[in-house]
Symmetry: C2
Subunit: 210 residues, 2 copies
């Protein structure tokens, strides 16, 4: 990745999100303090790595009580900028797209899928999980008006690259691609790929051969 | 992973599945031959790596026509054992579980989700995408009778470890975990983890900072 404004590596960002998720859940259960070994066990990251990350974040605690969760979370939030709600669009409202829509809109309050698009004209105008489905021809104008940060791609593999290009042209800076296709993001666009079928196929393969 | 019967590393298995997927799609469009550079471009893997894999598979071709797709696919199938249909169960028929059910049963004919389970008694007896939902209390008896290879976990994070243990105790050899929780598989069980929210959060983070 060229030109990133952050110097946090991808693995560090992942660990910070895991910490943040665990701390929020723990605070919701009424806890005020957390021990590093407890955090390590919960997120499956070595105690050494957790302590190194905490030093980096400048989190302070005592051996008796552990670390103050609120202060820890404030540091993580500042680092991750996760207090801000991100706007996203979803491209492809087939089985997978609709599934993602009903899952994500409920599970991730800090991301808002503001619009979904599909080539199927019969879907245009319908609403799924409070999200309106537009015809694909309206993509450019909605991108121009709403300026979403993230594009979620759930189209057939042959269409994925073109959609990625259209999203980038419309100013989208991050792509989450579910289409089982190797796409090349435009310069200055971050790409995250999730290949659900690959994950299933790998699981079945190693389950047979373990 | 200890005691694997295969010596194929995870990355190699991934590449082989990508090749297989592309070759099947190409054959369906009527092609008989494929060039290595074409395969390389389509799956996003370097030409050197593709040629190295082809030598390993003993795939032969000519510079004029390329490689015979059928022979290539036969080698890949033998390696991956993917001609066999795998039985899977799905645990958790909430938003995500139902979404996976409607997506996977259509998209992956070589895996069959034979049963789904949920704690919610109101769901028991219903059928989604041709798959019957059972009450969680029936899990052990269905595992004993059906002997599925793979378990797909889509339960809340706090329940994931217990479900993983129950699946392993019932003879399941591969787990695909969608719950945002660090679970530890039993000895002799392969675990693949997909963290959808993490993927979205990472995409939003790097999109902001690119």
């Amino acid at each position: 990745m060229n030109g990133r404004k952050t110097n946090l590596p991808s693995r560090t960002v992942e660990r910070f999100f895991l910490y943040s998720r665990f701390l929020k859940a723990k605070r919701e259960r009424g806890a005020e303090y957390v021990f590093s070994h407890e955090l390590s066990l919960a997120v499956g990251i070595s105690p050494e790595q957790v302590r190194q990350d905490m030093r980096r974040l400048n989190v302070r605690g005592t051996p008796q009580k552990g670390y103050l969760i609120d202060a820890f979370l404030a540091d993580l939030n500042e680092c991750l900028g996760s207090a801000v709600t991100a706007k996203a669009v979803l491209i492809g409202a087939g089985n997978l797209g609709r599934a993602l829509l009903s899952h994500f809109t409920l599970a991730w309050p800090s991301l808002k899928i503001i619009a979904a698009f599909d080539r199927d004209r019969k879907l245009a105008g319908s609403v799924i999980a409070s999200c309106r489905i537009y015809n694909m021809t309206q993509l450019a104008s909605v991108l121009k008006k709403e300026k979403p940060l993230v594009g979620i791609i759930a189209v057939p593999p042959d269409d994925a690259q073109q959609i990625a290009d259209e999203l980038a042209a419309g100013g989208v800076k991050g792509l989450l691609n579910f289409a089982p296709a190797a796409i090349k993001p435009a310069r200055g666009v971050y790409l995250e790929q999730i290949d659900l079928l690959m994950a299933l196929e790998k699981t079945a393969f190693f389950a047979r051969n373990i």
